[in-house]
């Protein structure tokens, strides 16, 4: 039914974090253009296994653009050239017969390579652990409709909460900064009435944990460009303001005014 493509892949292979990596070239023959990018890799891998070669490890799970597991650099761009599209949602009809595709893992000091195209993104969890939550133990909640939230506020919180935690923002940033990821979580929680009591503690702790692992933001805007959910860079400006406020507020709480 579908058109078939013949492609050349140049793929980063690396045994583990300590071994040096290198590009290897593989032909990808007879790829249906209805296939997704990851299905294209599946086809290549089946061929490799048949030839007795170890398949290429790449990150993936839901293949629906929501779990945030997938993500590779495709021709130098995080998740490839399609705007607002995770690697798993990219389809081969966006490529042309005869193309050469360069595929690399996320590149960031905070994301060491585990194998081939798979990296360790656990520092993102450390940022959440530092304060990306609301302290409401089970069983203590009031009736949900007792907290009135204007639709605009809920919608804007949701815009930020849509982040899938894939790390493309970090990979795309020339400084490997995680500002977009962190600010999205801060806006999600800090913009809601439920998030107010811990707001400044949260802002301070999350930003400082982020700085332990990641580079600093110099407003390039590559992050939003690469984000599969097109999370707005405006949240970063908000985070910076809230961080400054939190410093003042938290000192005052500590009696140091």
């Amino acid at each position: 039914m579908s058109t078939r493509l013949n492609l050349t892949l140049s793929i980063w292979r690396q045994a583990d974090a300590d071994s040096p990596g290198r590009f290897e070239t593989y032909p990808a023959k007879d790829i249906p253009d209805d296939a997704s990018f990851l299905e294209m890799l599946d086809i290549v891998n089946e061929g490799l296994i048949e030839n007795g070669q170890e398949p290429i490890e790449f990150p993936h799970d839901c293949r629906e653009g929501i779990c945030g597991t997938c993500g590779v650099m495709i021709n130098g761009r995080a998740h490839g050239q399609e705007k607002g599209t995770a690697t798993c949602q990219l389809h081969m009809r966006k490529f042309n017969d005869g193309d050469t595709i360069v595929i690399e893992p996320w590149r960031a000091a905070a994301f060491p390579v585990i194998k081939d195209l798979v990296v360790d993104r656990s520092p993102l969890d450390r940022i959440i652990e530092a304060g990306g939550y609301i302290g409401a133990p089970t069983g203590t909640a009031p009736d949900a409709n007792e907290i009135l939230i204007p639709k605009e506020v809920a919608d804007s919180s949701m815009d930020a909460a849509a982040c899938i935690g894939c790390g493309a923002c970090v990979a795309a940033c020339p400084n490997s900064a995680a500002q977009l990821f962190t600010s999205a979580k801060l806006w999600h929680l800090n913009s809601l009435p439920q998030g107010q009591t811990e707001r400044f503690r949260r802002s301070e702790n999350m930003v400082e944990t982020m700085e332990e692992f990641f580079g600093s933001c110099t407003n390039h805007g590559e992050c939003t460009e690469a984000c599969p959910k097109e999370i707005s860079q405006d949240f970063i400006a908000y985070m910076n303001r809230d961080y400054v406020k939190s410093k003042v507020f938290n000192r005052r709480l500590a009696g140091q005014h």
Partner: protein, 648 residues
């Protein structure tokens, strides 16, 4: 074949349903069960395997109560669990719409929707705690959809005539999972949850018939580790990937519950699987998964096929009179909102009749033209924007202009580990929560009820009931990991891994998974019959034998090796597939998602056999070469009268 005319439950299957009127059972039970006092809770260690909605909510709550929790996931982060992909929403009997909803109605709808194959007391409790879930999740910062006045919004969903579904755009599962994950991460920060990512449980450790721990493999380093605790909770999700193609994430598998089954946990209703009516039809052999389009689309989309077999015109040019709105015609009162099994089977019927649409004629239309005309494109975009976008990405077609093409796909598994009212399996100390257990949905799950059940189990049921089990264990330390029970189990795990790596066959694990999936879909799919199921019982073992001698796993154990992860999961799917066939063959009635061609009403609806099959079938492992033995838990209906389901 086992004797099917059972009138009493097997002694192995004591459901422990509390006494009293249905609305008081849970309260009575909570009052009667043993408690562990707050200071003593820190003396207990609990393992939670799985950090999806059920596992993360359980881990967080148990830690808040004071228990020491070890939480395990094979994902690199708990936020990746398959719960993340739920789109449509979560039910709760809040009656915020003032449209006649109540706890009793949600209970009734769920029992009826499950075609009377669930345990009344469990379902009633589920409906009771549903309201607390919405409160809890809102407090957690889940940005549920709101109205302009600031109140929570609702939508309606298949199988119900009230609007009781809460949602966060088309990403409800994502937002709920993030809520539960963040609540758990707070406990990680507090040192009460010890989080083990990249750890796949490969065996349950049982000593003297009691669950005492697990053995895991680290998927990054290959290291095998042993973990001991006072109780083990399995919240490891469903097994739809037995079909190969399903809407589940690629890694979803049955290993955790299957290993527990092999260690003595009875496996209930394995053949109760759900086919979801609104998925994007498959396009080719390379296809690795099927994508679900949320069922909420059926609120506004109209389902139809051309009346004419040789129709070649594009959908928009087919006049109204030549369109067959088969659900609206057959079921005037529920129309496009009939339950999933009914919607799916009807789609199969029209496609089998040659009325299918699309290049392979393997789909039906889901058309939004009327809704866009009525409410405007903006409104539709606000409701379903991300779903429409996803559809366009996958198919290259714009659903604002041409109707979507949809077809049913495997989506959810009602079957799972048998659990009693306390969510404990037949192995003392081993509990199961969420999609991994069999409870609550009977033979068919209603839309937006899985998220509800996972969170009910994890937040509001298990944290209480587990105390009842732990209380008498006060003063007993967990079994040390150098105990022979641990050492032997660890050796079994290592041997199995070596065996996979040394087969040295010719075909990839993926190949065998795909071939197995074809058999399961063909014989244990949307429609089943005796001849087909008997065939499955010979063909699956034959393919399994080939698998064990011809699979090729390259690489080693000591580094990330997805083929090695996969091959173990597929080996377990082979055994499960066989059990699914055995269960489906044994259950000669049709009910819910289990449709035996031999048992249908004159209108082609599922025809139950309440006299002989009003029970849960729970299967006991008898060794690798002996068929499992069936035990029955008789279902007693005191509240709901059994009727032929009708959605006309």
């Amino acid at each position: 074949m086992t004797d099917t005319s059972i009138s009493q439950s097997s002694p192995l299957l004591d459901s422990k349903v509390p006494e009293g009127p249905i609305e008081d059972k849970w309260d009575n039970h909570r009052f009667k069960i043993k408690l562990v006092n707050p200071a003593n809770k820190r003396k207990f260690r609990i393992i939670v395997v799985g950090t999806g909605l059920a596992g993360a909510s359980a881990a967080a709550t148990l830690a808040e109560l004071g228990y020491n929790v070890d939480a395990f996931t094979y994902h690199d982060s708990p936020r990746r669990a398959h719960s993340i992909s739920a789109q449509g929403g979560i039910n709760a009997a809040k009656n915020y719409r003032n449209d006649g909803d109540s706890i009793y109605r949600l209970f009734y709808d769920t029992v009826k929707g499950g075609d009377y194959r669930s345990r009344e007391a469990n379902v009633y409790r589920l409906a009771q705690v549903s309201v607390d879930i919405i409160d809890q999740m809102t407090a957690q910062g889940v940005p549920f959809a709101r109205e302009y006045g600031g109140l929570l919004d609702n939508r309606s969903f298949g199988g119900a005539q009230v609007s009781r579904t809460f949602y966060a755009r088309g990403q409800t599962g994502q937002q709920l999972l993030l809520g539960a994950y963040q609540q758990m991460m707070r406990q990680v920060d507090a040192g009460k949850v010890n989080l083990h990512t990249d750890e796949e449980m490969l065996e349950l450790v049982v000593k003297d018939g009691v669950a005492v721990g697990i053995v895991c493999r680290n998927v990054v380093t290959g290291e095998i580790s042993k973990h001991s605790a006072h109780a083990v909770v399995l919240a490891t999700g469903g097994y739809s990937n037995a079909f190969y193609l399903s809407t589940n994430a690629m890694a979803c598998n049955t290993t955790a519950i299957w290993r527990a089954h092999r260690k003595g946990a009875l496996f209930a209703n394995p053949c109760f699987t759900q086919i979801h009516p609104t998925c994007i039809p498959a396009s080719d052999e390379f296809q690795s998964k099927l994508t679900l389009m949320s069922e909420s689309l059926r609120n506004d989309g109209r389902i139809w096929v051309p009346r004419n077999h040789d129709e070649t015109r594009p959908a928009g040019q087919i006049p109204e009179a030549e369109r067959f709105y088969y659900l609206e015609e057959k079921y005037p009162s529920f129309g496009n909102l009939v339950p999933r099994d009914v919607a799916s089977r009807n789609a199969k019927t029209v496609v089998d009749q040659g009325l299918g649409v699309g290049p392979l004629k393997n789909g039906v239309y889901l058309d939004f033209a009327d809704a866009i005309g009525r409410d405007g494109k903006d409104k539709i975009e606000e409701r379903y924007g991300n779903l429409f976008q996803m559809y366009e990405r996958i198919t290259g077609e714009d659903p604002y202009r041409v109707p979507m093409r949809i077809y049913p796909a495997t989506h959810y598994t009602m079957g799972g580990l048998w659990v009693d009212y306390n969510l404990m399996t037949t192995i003392p100390g081993c509990f199961s929560a969420g999609e991994a257990n069999f409870s609550d949905h009977g033979a068919n799950r209603l839309g937006a009820s899985a998220l509800m059940q996972g969170l009910a189990d994890g937040y509001f049921v298990l944290p209480y009931t587990i105390g009842n089990y732990l209380a008498p264990l006060l003063g007993h330390d967990p079994v040390p990991t150098d105990d022979p029970a641990f050492v032997e189990t660890e050796q079994d795990v290592k041997d199995r891994i070596s065996r996979f790596l040394s087969i040295g066959g010719t075909r990839s694990p993926e190949y065998f998974h795909r071939e197995l999936g074809k058999l399961v879909w063909e014989y244990i799919g949307m429609e089943r019959n005796k001849a087909g199921l008997e065939k499955a019982l010979t063909e699956i073992p034959a393919l399994r034998e080939e698998f064990w001698s011809d699979v090729r796993v390259l690489g080693n154990n000591e580094s990330l090796n997805s083929s090695l992860e996969k091959v173990g999961r597929i080996a377990d799917f082979f055994e499960l597939g066989e059990l699914m066939a055995r269960d489906a063959l044994d259950r000669t009635e049709s009910c819910g998602g289990h449709f035996r061609i031999e048992s249908q009403t004159p209108e082609g609806e599922a025809l139950r056999d309440d006299e002989n099959y009003s029970h849960v079938s729970a299967w006991e492992w008898k060794g690798p070469d002996t068929p499992q033995v069936k035990h029955a838990e008789e279902l007693v209906f005191e509240e709901v009268e059994l009727t032929q389901r009708s959605y006309k």
